[in-house]
Amino acid sequence: MRLYSTLKIAFSALGRNVMRTLLTTLGIVIGVGAVITMMEIGNGTTIAIQRTMASIGADTLVVVPGAVSISGVNQGSGSRMTLTPQDADAIVKECPAVRSVAPIVRARTQVVYGNRNWVPTYIYGTTPSFLDVREWTDLDKGEAFSEHDVLNSSKVCIIGQTIVSELFGGESPIGKEVRIRNVAFKVIGILQKKGANVMGMDQDDILLAPWTTIKYRVVASSLSSGNQSSTNTASNAEVTAVSQIYPNIQQNLYYVPTASEQADAPQPIRFTNVDQILTAAQSGSQIPFAIEQITTLLRERHHLRATDLNDFNVRDMTEIAKAMSSTTELITKLLLCVAMISLVVGGVGIMNIMLVSVTERTREIGLRMAVGAEPGDILRQFLTEAIVLCLLGGTLGIILGRGSSYLVSAVLHWPTAVSVGAIVAAVIVSASVGVIFGFYPAWKASRLDPIDALRYE
């Protein structure tokens, strides 16, 4: 018995009672429709949750320079100067798993406005893409600095809410000038409130400026001296203050050149380094690939041999990323449970009607057996009918599901996303529901005794 004739019999049997066929499939239609709608709403929700998680930095990767040891004393991570702004450019160009990259130059010093002063937790010299990495692009007031400002080392900055309240009180800071180490920065934008991060650090206590400005105008001393730790000498105001508290520990063993001497005989500058590179992965799931790609790229750029250790570290926000993946996993599982229940209910409906159909068509089964249908043929025929019913229901369900998820997104403005996986799964599941719940009635039909079946009234 060929597949073609089996299908033909199934379709003509189902076509004999169109209304009943449609009502029977309704269970599967609603089941599959519900699965697809929920999967699509769930997908949308997952994306929305991922976006929220990303805004607290779940998809952020921090590339920091490696550690350097001086006479066996390890200076700790970040003490080596290996990262360049060119590394940052290369990462965003060559790592497909990376969405955005921002180099960062740090400073910790006093910011002065009028008669007030404040030492922000973060003074970051960076590029405009920092806001993109940190999902912070919507400013409260004003605007962000541009790439052009970075190229020009413009003396502009954007500040967080904490600095606004500490330095400006009730005043509007836009257009005002703040001084950082006697360099006047014009405030051009105010960041939106972000609150504390998971560590309890105030993220609004931040000042962002072009990295070139911070690097060359504020922490310029680190340029010429080659090593940040060794810049903490007499020329550094903060360290001078420390040495006044503990006068004995800071001994200048070597002659310290004056500012004019330094200007007359500049140290050769090999490259400009940055303190860290902040990157954002395309999505939470891309983080492992992003780490791999960045590592490969930077090893190549830093000319490391296979035996050399990395001269940098890539860190991800494991904890937050874990929270993110477990949340989305939970949502998927929850939806799967609901989907399973509705499909089982639909399957029971199919089984019920198939049993009725077998009883109703007992004489037909008897006749088919009398003219030579083997038990296997009968089994296959009824199984095919059940599967066709379920696939029909599945198809209608996909249309219903897509339609209602479109409606939900159009009317309720909930985020939805097309889930091809859900559609494929719905087809597979509805076919297997057909096999599982169609098997018993089909088996029952194939076990019929042709004599009794022919005599059945």
Partner: protein, 235 residues
């Protein structure tokens, strides 16, 4: 060897504790090309005998030789294949598939055939048979649009579509008026004499039995004599 040979066939149904013997040692021979009537009152065991002859059931004991093979202990699947290849059935109540055209009804047994036929060959064979039973202009009618006699003709065409050796007709005229019955019985005679198909008519009606060349009487599960009535059909 004859086409059909039954040797000491017993059939016993067990109803719980009690065994109910229905056939108590039936032996008979039917040669190729015979037109035989199997006659008996209801309860005589003739339906049981027909089921065994038609391979729908197997005997409790005894041997059934069909076309040179002992087939009393075949499995359900093997019996189904045998029915498809060797035996054609015509029933009292026609048993056509409702809402299915005459042509499709005749084509139905070919779905299960192991013969290698393409759709065109199948259709040709079915159309030819419908033409021979005189329904050439009704091949696309459904059973509900056909008279009883026409429905039985469709059933005869269906029973012959697999070129069987034996045609088993169970009270084929039980639901028809006497004129139509006559036509149907003549049709059996014609297929028997022209195509050489062995026909077994199972009936309780002596009027039907007299169309056969030989009548086997069955009573209380035993053969109760054979007679050759005066032949009067169109030979």
């Amino acid at each position: 060897m004859d086409l059909i040979e039954l040797r000491n066939i017993h059939k016993t149904y067990s109803l719980g504790e009690v065994d109910l013997p229905v056939l108590k040692g039936v032996s008979l021979n039917i040669a190729r090309g015979e037109l035989v009537a199997l006659m008996g009152a209801s309860g005589s065991g003739k339906s049981t005998l027909m089921n065994i002859l038609g391979c729908l059931d197997h005997p409790t004991s005894g041997e059934y030789w069909l076309d040179g093979h002992e087939i009393s202990w075949l499995t359900a699947t093997e019996r189904a294949r045998l029915r498809n290849r060797v035996i054609g059935f015509v029933f009292q109540s026609f048993n056509l598939l409702p809402r299915t055209t005459a042509l499709e009804n005749v084509l139905m047994p070919l779905i299960y055939t192991k013969e290698n036929l393409n759709e065109h060959q199948k259709k040709q064979r079915a159309t030819e048979l419908l033409r021979r039973v005189g329904l050439a202009d009704r091949i696309h009618h459904q059973p509900s649009q056909l008279s009883g006699g026409e429905q039985q003709r469709v059933a005869i065409a269906r029973s012959l579509v697999n070129n069987p050796r034996v045609l088993l007709a169970d009270e084929p005229t039980g639901n028809l008026d006497s004129r139509t019955s006559e036509e149907i019985l003549e049709m059996f005679q014609q297929f028997n004499s022209v195509d050489g198909i062995t026909v077994i008519l199972v009936t309780h009606d002596p009027g039907v039995a007299k169309h056969a060349r030989r009548t086997i009487h069955i009573k209380d599960g035993l053969i109760d004599g054979t007679e050759q009535p005066v032949h009067e059909g169109i030979a």
